[in-house]
Symmetry: C2
Subunit: 165 residues, 2 copies
């Protein structure tokens, strides 16, 4: 049962967790795809699951590793990047440009913009919506005669848990 051991190791290594929150997210994505006639293929599901179960921002080649091991198929980068494109396009995941990593979205299609708190110590991130702040950003840009199409707001620092320690 070498394979099973390896999968257990991967789950530990990559800290995959199948919480209620995760299950809900997956269910919600299924629904949204249903409603919008989006094809949520096995590959896309698998990759979404890997991203959402991992509690930290995950890198494309880490996804590739997990995917290859868990499905026992040799996957290549384009497979991962194509799925990532699909997931970003439809708002199911986000890319954190400042660290070349991807994170699952816990409220897809609910919000237009969100921002991210990334802890430099534990690497855990938080996805946040602040309507007020979003409005502020838009106003500030509009004041400068600029029409916003999309924004990236990533905040690095230290989370409460890490400060306590």
């Amino acid at each position: 049962m070498k394979v099973k051991f390896y999968v257990v190791w991967l789950i530990m290594k990559f800290n995959l967790k199948n919480t209620k929150e995760v299950q809900d997210s997956i269910a919600r994505v299924f629904e949204i795809c249903e409603l919008n006639n989006l094809v949520f293929t096995e590959i896309r599901q698998k990759i979404f699951e890997i991203i959402i179960k991992y509690k930290k921002p995950i890198k494309a080649y880490e996804i590739l590793d997990v995917f290859t091991e868990e499905t026992e198929k040799r996957a290549h980068p384009p497979t991962i990047y194509r799925a990532i494109d699909f997931l970003i396009e439809n708002g199911f995941i986000h890319k954190l440009n400042s660290i070349n990593s991807y994170v699952g979205c816990f409220h897809p299609k609910v919000h237009k913009e969100c921002y991210f708190l990334i802890c430099k110590i534990c690497n855990i991130y938080k996805e946040c919506c602040d309507k007020n702040l979003t409005e502020n950003i838009f106003k500030s840009a509009n004041k400068r005669d600029f029409i916003v199409s999309n924004t990236t707001l990533e905040i690095e620092g230290h989370c409460n848990d890490c400060i306590q320690k």
Copy 2:
């Protein structure tokens, strides 16, 4: 005079401009280095100039091309990246993570945080400070028990000039 022609072509290609604003920026950086005992070597000067004269976000390997041509020395990536590190560390340039490009800072050391408007059509960027907005970001993060160390706010969209057209 093949070399000269090539330099002219590069200047056109890379849209280098030596405006008063640019000269002032360079002078200011000299001053700041003087005051802070920073070694503003020839390489660092040259690379800062290339970035600041270029009116758009410039990529590391574009800097490398210009540098190699203008100085007629074979430069390698680490030369560029080391200078970039120095310049970012001291607030003379910024990196736009969303497009892997670098931009000169027109008011180094004056501000703590700034944000960027990037036009998707003409690629020109604007560096903006909005004290109110910055405070808002800090407040929003603090409300979530998060201590901010640095922020990235990049706004893509369309600038006024491009909308008019």
